[in-house]
Symmetry: C2
Subunit: 227 residues, 2 copies
Amino acid sequence: MKKTSQPLADLAAERLVDYIVEHQLETGSRLPNEYVLADILEVGRSTVREAVRRLAARNILEVRQGSGTYISGKKGVADDPLGFTFIKDTTKLTHDLFEIRLLLEPRVAAKAAQYATDQDCLLLEEIVQAIEQSYDEGTEEHVQLDVQLHAQLAKMSGNLALDSLLPVIHQSISLINSDFQGKDLREDSRLAHRRILEAVRDRDSVNAYDAMLRHILAVSASFEMES
Amino acid sequence: MKKTSQPLADLAAERLVDYIVEHQLETGSRLPNEYVLADILEVGRSTVREAVRRLAARNILEVRQGSGTYISGKKGVADDPLGFTFIKDTTKLTHDLFEIRLLLEPRVAAKAAQYATDQDCLLLEEIVQAIEQSYDEGTEEHVQLDVQLHAQLAKMSGNLALDSLLPVIHQSISLINSDFQGKDLREDSRLAHRRILEAVRDRDSVNAYDAMLRHILAVSASFEMES
């Protein structure tokens, strides 16, 4: 296997990112083929392949066998982007992730309430209902739906950075604690989600803030007791 | 060039991460050679190479030509881990990053003051002095030193997740706004850093909280005016 030099592939990867940004390529767009890319990036084809692999590892590109290379829908957010895999004390890490949520999410809920469109509210209600259905049917779907609920609020808050960051925090908590059930918490969460939904629907920022604060304190306290 | 199948390399990368975590390999440790890794991961050597490349792209491993593969000091935090490169409105993104800092950092400063050791305080003072020296000599070093100052406070706060996250937020702000000078802000920042340092030294959480809040509001306001 031919060895591609590290720095050249790094440079090619950087140029490819610039190309994507300059051409405003959107999620799902297909990149030009290898020959064309080699021309554009002014490197050999093996370096193009290496650069593509690096950007695929960062979830910026997605290689579909036999079809081509596409802009990934994961928006360049790598799996475990903040390196939490390597923190050994997962109980402490979870506690610390909840502290971040406690600082960020009440304001997220307040802003979501302030900026919500009717369409946003409908989408939020759908997620809340799907979570309740998952509770009722005893499925595990509510875990992912819960991440989705908080991600939707982050999107509604209008803060672009939180829109990228909060799903990472949530996903980390669920991954680290895949055995955490929080069963006793379901009735509590059901009420909390409804309270948040109502406040957003009423465009009531203050109540949305308080409802989210109470919700996160409750989930976090329940985690502390089980661990 | 032999094509390694995607899913197999993914699986091998995942197993390699598990191996690193289980064996508690620390930053700078050298991995076993390719032959041994192929045995451990139960895949061929070309798949080992592919897995190593992926983990290198995620800053988990570092390949040193002619020497071997090492655990990277970047702790698995990829370059631009949250995909900010692809957000086009950089002014809005900067504003949103400051909002995150405003929510997180006053508490970071308060906790840093509460938990500070004498050693921590000395290190903090060294950074503050180096920033002042950079201001005085008109060098650009203060930009990186400022990231370091806030990273040091994050470490002192004891929150493991913030210790990973805050440097990413800071680094993003400096990268996006590499032309932002904030010259008029230097006297202000000089005072603010001294105020934070004093509060931490006095183990005065309340003053540390307030000093940080004022500092971030001032920097953020100055950015808004220049942009």
